[in-house]
Symmetry: C2
Subunit: 358 residues, 2 copies
């Protein structure tokens, strides 16, 4: 199978590479000090890569899981379709069990299962080939979608703009180019004068480790701050817009995203700063009415108490470590998708956009 | 000179110890993993201890500077009063130049200089003895003041209360007992059911390293969170009150405190949660009309880019690292001082309290 990378380079790294039956992921846990690529051909190991955050970011998790599903399919030994489907469902369940909040994971696995379901007459060997292509298509589509989102989003920004972003909704969180950072890349490409303030994003430090790293690589002007400095900057008039990504968007426009996003949204409201969310329609979950139904993952307290081997807090202290929060639609100025910008009545517009994605 | 520690143990560690001409400071940079005490007898070294944050917290800085001023005075070799005063002013200038935001530093040095100014007829050797007693008095007074503040503040709290605090306004930030944590200690002592949520407080991590450590030592129920999790907790109804300390309070009630305090105040307003500031009158600066005139220290970017030797951000990235922010009086529910609780018209009440301190 040829390299899945025919799509022209659109700016930003491509963190997920697939060729000749091998998935390669840049180990995001080691950035920014080490660029190390890990290789995968086994679905259980792919599941562990998602769980342990070798790869993170809602779209990137979806793409990775799709390749994982293909590896799982490839290892199924039966030639019987029904048996294959039973085993394949188990593979997908393992992958679906890795992380609870980002809906792109379930969306990508559903897309893989749909393909298999739609082809009961194919020999299993052909199904496997189809699943490989489907995973690659999910990967390629994601980059195309991000560039489309970038164009829609960049049009919202003034010619001179200082943008705050939280977490990493960049190339590293996707197949490439990024969602929130894709909008920033598109604005830069359109000749706008863009400065980015990047929240470091505790506890996993996606902002300092990943966003700062990939924007620096692209020579986009970036200032790193701690999460708790954003309010001060806004009070000084230093921020013109906020753009973040999303892990799941409810039918009413409530947005689950990295912990701390809600705080940024409240601050943006207090300072009359537009708060934009950039996310593909695969992040929209029409099955849930509002954000209160989105499961919020809680992660290992060691993410808060330690950095590497360094202990930051007294042993035995109680820690609360939610990985996401929910920003109500009322605080969201607009949701930027690949099909256009939703604003105002999210329920109707989001449903329209999801239908358009088929 | 006997041990300056006759005041009954009021709960919480005493981070500043003085006896027999030697100042001992717990090295707050090494907490919570190492309890190491450093000894000082030289004012230049005391200045460096303040600058490098061996000791931090507005009241603790003031106390430490007072001992530093005494060491500086002790080393002045002249017996001539006028010459002594010239050299002593230089000593105080060095100590005053260590950190710009907390006004207690200048307040304590002014108290030391006032004593020297008020005694022109004393032999210099007697002045030195007087300055030693004055430093010890500043130290002892601070603990008494904190306990008084604690009583006033505890009365504001319901019998069951979940309190969010930011940074460390505890025993470690003062002579002992603490300002914000003093209110919490007093509430616990009064039999209230108190749970504390402690913001870790990036970048210096005073919350995880210091607040969690000293509350754990006192068996006060504490949950450590990252700064960006406070909004999520408030949105879930999990916080009943916020209490923080202050580094400088303007005449109109605007409060400079650790970076991130302003964000917490905006969040508290959004969720109708009372936002209390606990600070001694020595933190109130009637010389400045409002918070816009408070100088905000910017510190080394390494505090943001590294933890210990561990690099968190790409080399060469631009970083903004303000150590404080200003919360406007309009977001402050009440200011708790040793003389009582100011609420509503801060300008008049704060002036009254400061006058009462003489």
């Amino acid at each position: 199978m040829s390299n899945c990378g025919a799509f022209p380079n659109a700016g930003g790294i491509r963190p997920i590479k697939y060729s000749d039956g091998v998935l390669r992921l840049i180990d995001q846990r080691l950035l920014p000090t080490e660029e190390s690529w890990l290789e995968y051909t086994d679905y259980q190991e792919v599941a562990e890569a998602i769980r342990s955050m070798v790869v993170r970011g809602a779209p990137a998790i979806g793409i990775t899981a799709a390749y994982g599903a293909y590896f799982g399919a490839l290892a199924i030994e039966t030639e019987n379709y029904a048996d294959f489907m039973t085993e394949f469902a188990q593979v997908c369940d393992v992958l679906a069990g890795t992380r609870p909040t980002a809906v792109n994971l379930f969306w990508a696995l559903e897309r893989m299962k749909s393909l298999a379901r739609a082809n009961p007459d194919q020999p299993v060997s052909n199904l496997k080939i189809g699943l490989e292509y489907e995973a690659m298509a999910i990967n390629e589509d994601d980059i195309r979608i991000n560039m489309s989102m970038g164009r829609h989003g960049a049009a919202l920004l003034p010619d001179q703009v200082r943008i705050l972003t939280h977490c990493n909704a960049g190339a590293l969180a996707t197949g490439g180019y990024g969602t929130a950072l894709g909008v920033i890349r598109a604005a830069v490409a359109a000749g706008k004068d863009v400065a980015v303030f990047a929240d470091e994003t505790r506890p996993f430090l996606q902002g300092s480790r990943l966003t700062a790293w990939e924007l620096q690589k692209d020579n986009i002007q970036t200032v790193l701050i701690c999460d708790n400095m954003a309010g001060y900057l806004m009070s000084k008039g230093a921020i013109d817009a906020v753009i973040v990504g999303a892990d799941r968007i409810a039918a009413n426009g409530d947005v689950a995203n990295k912990i701390g996003t809600y705080t940024v949204a409240v601050l943006a409201k207090e300072h009359n700063i537009p708060f934009y969310v950039a996310a593909p329609t695969s992040t929209i979950d029409l099955q849930i009415a509002d954000g209160s139904q989105i499961p919020i993952e809680e992660r290992d307290i060691r993410e808060v108490t330690h950095i590497g081997e360094q202990q930051l807090a007294p042993a035995g202290i109680t820690v609360f470590n939610p990985a996401f929060d929910v920003t109500p639609a009322s605080l969201v100025t607009a949701i930027i998708t690949e099909h256009g910008v939703a604003q105002g009545n999210y329920t109707e517009q989001l449903a329209t956009y999801v239908r358009r994605s088929g």
